[in-house]
């Protein structure tokens, strides 16, 4: 057996065998972590894009569409981004397993590290508005995504036949207003004493609003509820009511507008 030791040392000397340089191992080690970080960044970008879509939607509208929350919510889920997040997470976990000590981490710990960093970086991306920009970029580059796969606040509120309409007020009268919707179509909006105007709504020319009601005729829409473009409009806005502010307060602190 000792012959093996001697002959191995001889072989090392005769064939000038030497240890591989350290930088090769370090490069391999750090490359695996750089790939992991890149995948997590891609996953985080997908997360911010999904969050942008989900956070822009009004999730209470199922109450007005006479559907269960589940049947209302299923078409609104951003499947494209969720699939990408899942794929990036799976690739990140597989890559992490291939790192030098990756086999030592349990699956639970790996999921916490990968998903935790993906969500944290995704939250930062969302804060700097990256999610919206990414959605616009993808919709521009892949028109099919924009027309069939991207459920946005705009698509949600441009369904006059289902009772949802959004646009910019171009004039206000005593019994309603005129607005131009997001497709540049003109609508006369009829209001009455039962129309609920959310406290944060500024019924002023140039303001963007969302209207829940019923389409009565081509270009005519009866408003049951008016909300500001951003949010639910539960908090009071800064501007005046321009005739609507004198409406009655209901029990929930909302105002009834119109004459």
């Amino acid at each position: 057996m000792d012959d093996i030791v001697k002959s191995t040392i001889e072989k090392i000397r005769n064939e000038h065998i030497s240890p591989e340089p350290r930088w090769k191992y370090l490069a391999r080690k750090y490359f695996a972590w750089i790939v992991f970080a890149a995948i997590i960044f891609l996953g985080a970008a997908s997360f911010s894009a999904a969050y942008y879509l989900v956070s822009g939607l009004d999730w209470d509208l199922y109450r007005f569409s006479h559907r269960s929350f589940l049947s209302f919510a299923i078409p609104l889920i951003p499947y494209f981004w969720i699939l990408l997040i899942g794929a990036f997470l799976a690739i990140a976990l597989a890559d992490m397993r291939k790192t030098e000590n990756g086999y030592r981490y349990g699956l639970g710990k790996m999921i916490i590290i990968a998903a935790g960093s993906l969500i944290a970086i995704g939250a930062v991306f969302s804060l700097i508005g990256f999610g919206g920009r990414l959605n616009s970029l993808v919709a521009k580059s892949f028109p099919y995504y924009g027309s069939h796969m991207m459920m946005t606040k705009e698509t949600q509120w441009m369904q006059p036949d289902s009772g949802f309409l959004a646009g910019t007020i171009i004039s206000v009268s005593s019994n309603g207003m005129t607005l131009v919707d997001l497709n540049s179509r003109r609508w006369d909006i009829a209001t009455d004493s039962n129309t609920l105007v959310r406290p944060a709504v500024d019924v002023l020319q140039g303001e963007m609003i969302k209207v829940i009601g019923k389409k009565q005729d081509a270009g005519l829409f009866h408003a049951n509820e008016i909300r500001p473009w951003s949010g639910m409009g539960m908090m009071s806005g800064q501007g005046g009511r321009n005739g609507y502010g004198g409406g009655i307060m209901n029990g929930q602190g909302m105002m009834r507008g119109g004459k």
């Binding site: 093996i4 030791v5 072989k11 090392i12 065998i17 240890p19 591989e20 086999y103 030592r104 349990g106």
Partner: protein
């Protein structure tokens, strides 16, 4: 004056990077263990086992800069030996077998894998259980050898095979279950 303490593995690794003679001390320390491990997981002649052992040592030497000191040197060396033997059989397009175990090693493997009293194991019984172990897939046979003949703990097996600890425990337990099932199917009842 006390005797000079033998150098630790990590120290010898550092010295070996510039001096092959120091690597000789490491080889002496592990040649017997690695020789038997290679013999146990492959069915090779003494000469072939020695050839593979030398290739393993050369591979260890070339990879000294990749040794991670958070591991036991023996686990790292076993890992290289394991991978090299697998590569050897892949290249030769052959399947390693375990009937190169010594009788005493067989007894140890059998009594650790199935609840059986050594005293009541007769030769015929051992032979029949041997055939059941040989029929186990390579991954189960190897893990039973590592656990019960090499007597490695789960942490070490995890480092050798680069598998999570849970997977190691599962493989050991499935290997034992599979062996008992094979024995039942063949009506082997030595208990």
């Amino acid at each position: 004056m006390g005797e000079k303490e033998p150098k630790k593995d990590a120290e010898l690794v550092e010295l070996s990077k510039s001096d092959p003679e120091s690597f000789g001390f490491l080889m002496e320390r592990y040649e017997s263990q690695l020789f038997h491990y290679i013999r146990r997981i492959g069915q090779l002649s003494k000469e072939d086992t020695e050839d593979i052992l030398q290739e393993v040592f050369i591979k260890i030497y070339k990879n000294l800069n990749g040794y991670n000191e958070s591991l036991k040197f023996s686990s790292w060396a076993y890992r290289i030996a394991h991978n090299h033997v697998i590569d050897h059989f892949r290249r030769a397009n052959a399947r390693p077998k375990t009937n190169s175990l010594e009788d005493e090693e067989w007894e140890r493997l059998i009594s650790s894998s199935v609840r059986i009293d050594k005293a009541i194991m007769d030769k015929d019984c051992i032979e029949r259980i041997k055939s059941c172990i040989q029929e186990l897939p390579m991954k189960y046979r190897e893990i039973l050898i590592l656990r019960f003949i090499e007597e490695k703990d789960y942490e070490e097996i995890m480092d050798i095979l680069k598998k999570p600890k849970g997977s190691v425990a599962t493989l050991v337990s499935r290997g034992k279950e599979m062996l008992v099932r094979n024995m039942k199917e063949k009506n082997i009842n030595c208990f």
